[in-house]
């Protein structure tokens, strides 16, 4: 739902970095996206194609490294993947958790010419 706003920010960030590097063209954008953000990759690519027309990022492909949600048990330190309706530690059964992965939303790198 909020893909347009996110794509807009991402696009501006990518342009800024590409210009700083005096690049002529952006070929690829590598994003890291936590699954908990609910961001839909196809939508991002769609908006990006639209926003980047006529810029040096036009035609760039976006790669999405999706990060599944992970939690760490506050009792025994076990780290495990968060399943949808089961929020207990598989090792000790405790339910005090700290989310340690799955909320990412960043540009890892760009590939430019």
């Amino acid at each position: 739902m909020h893909e347009l706003a996110i794509t807009q920010s991402m696009f501006e960030l990518v342009l800024e970095q590409a210009e700083k590097a005096k690049a002529k063209k952006v070929d690829k954008i590598n994003l890291v996206i936590g699954e908990m953000t609910g961001v839909v990759g196809d939508c991002v690519q769609f908006y990006f194609n639209f926003l980047s027309q006529g810029t040096l990022a036009e035609g760039a492909t976006i790669s999405f490294a999706m990060v599944p949600p992970k939690a760490q048990c506050q009792n025994c330190d076990e780290t495990f993947e968060l399943k949808e309706f089961d929020w207990t530690c598989p090792k000790c059964g405790d339910n005090k958790l700290q989310i340690v992965a799955g909320q990412e939303l960043f540009v890892e790198s760009i590939e430019v010419e």
């Binding site: 739902m1 909020h2 347009l4 706003a5 996110i6 920010s9 991402m10 501006e12 960030l13 990518v14 970095q17 590409a18 590097a21 690049a23 994003l31 908990m36 953000t37 609910g38 949600p69 939690a71 506050q74 968060l82 949808e84 309706f85 929020w87 339910n95 005090k96 958790l97 989310i99 909320q103 939303l105 960043f106 540009v107 890892e108 790198s109 760009i110 590939e111 430019v112 010419e113």
Partner: protein, 216 residues
């Protein structure tokens, strides 16, 4: 050539949010970002809080809505400063919209600022506005599985208000399971059971709010 970037996509929003917080701090304004799905009771809670605190605290309201200004009109009847933001289709408020709104408010006359976000449990979680506290309202008719469906939102809330508690006798909602799920991913979240109809829990909520304001 590959260039390492490692930058948060929403860092631009984050910067504006920090500027907002700075401005609010300099004027002594405590800002609360109210989030929930549509109809959970954001406007009702603002109205009840105004009624409870009006004699003690100077309150202002920013109403975020996709298009209408109905809520702003309701709040305006309470005789507090209110600014409407129409997001024009966006599903959340962002820091820039709030920056524009607060530049149109008499901040020197406001001690407590409510920001009613767009009704949505996904998108607003990502966008900080410059608020001091994030409050999430989850209401009884929505069911008790919401923390599992929208963990990001529940993870970021400073307090979770279970609203429409007056409807508990008529609907299936396991308060214990709900609270345990919230506490599990967010140990710091305060949980209140409230009703904007019977006023149950409103006093606990407002005194919590006053404590947080005084500690800012």
């Amino acid at each position: 050539m590959k260039i390492k970037v490692l930058k948060d996509i929403l860092s631009a929003n984050e910067q504006i949010a920090q500027a907002n917080r700075h401005l609010l701090n300099s004027k002594g304004v405590f800002a609360v970002n109210l989030m929930s799905s549509p109809g959970a009771g954001k406007t009702s809670l603002i109205l009840e809080t105004i009624k409870a605190l009006k004699s003690k605290v100077k309150i202002g309201v920013i109403e975020g809505d996709v298009s209408s200004s109905l809520d702003a009109a309701l709040i305006g009847k309470e005789d507090v400063p209110v600014v409407q933001i129409n997001t024009g289709g966006e599903c959340h408020l962002d820091a820039n919209m709030v920056s524009n709104a607060i530049s149109n408010m008499p901040l020197q006359d406001i001690e407590l600022l409510f920001i009613e976000n767009v009704g949505n449990l996904i998108c607003p979680a990502e966008f900080t506005l410059g608020e001091h506290k994030k409050i999430l309202i989850s209401s009884i008719p929505e069911g008790d599985d919401k923390p599992f469906k929208y963990p990001l939102m529940f993870n970021k809330a400073d307090a979770v208000l279970i609203n429409k508690i007056d409807l508990l006798p008529y609907l299936k909602f396991d308060i214990q399971a709900f609270s345990q799920a919230v506490k599990g991913i967010n140990g710091k979240a305060e949980i209140f059971q409230i009703s904007c109809v019977t006023k149950q829990g409103i006093q606990e909520w407002t005194s919590w709010l006053l404590t947080k304001m005084s500690r800012k």
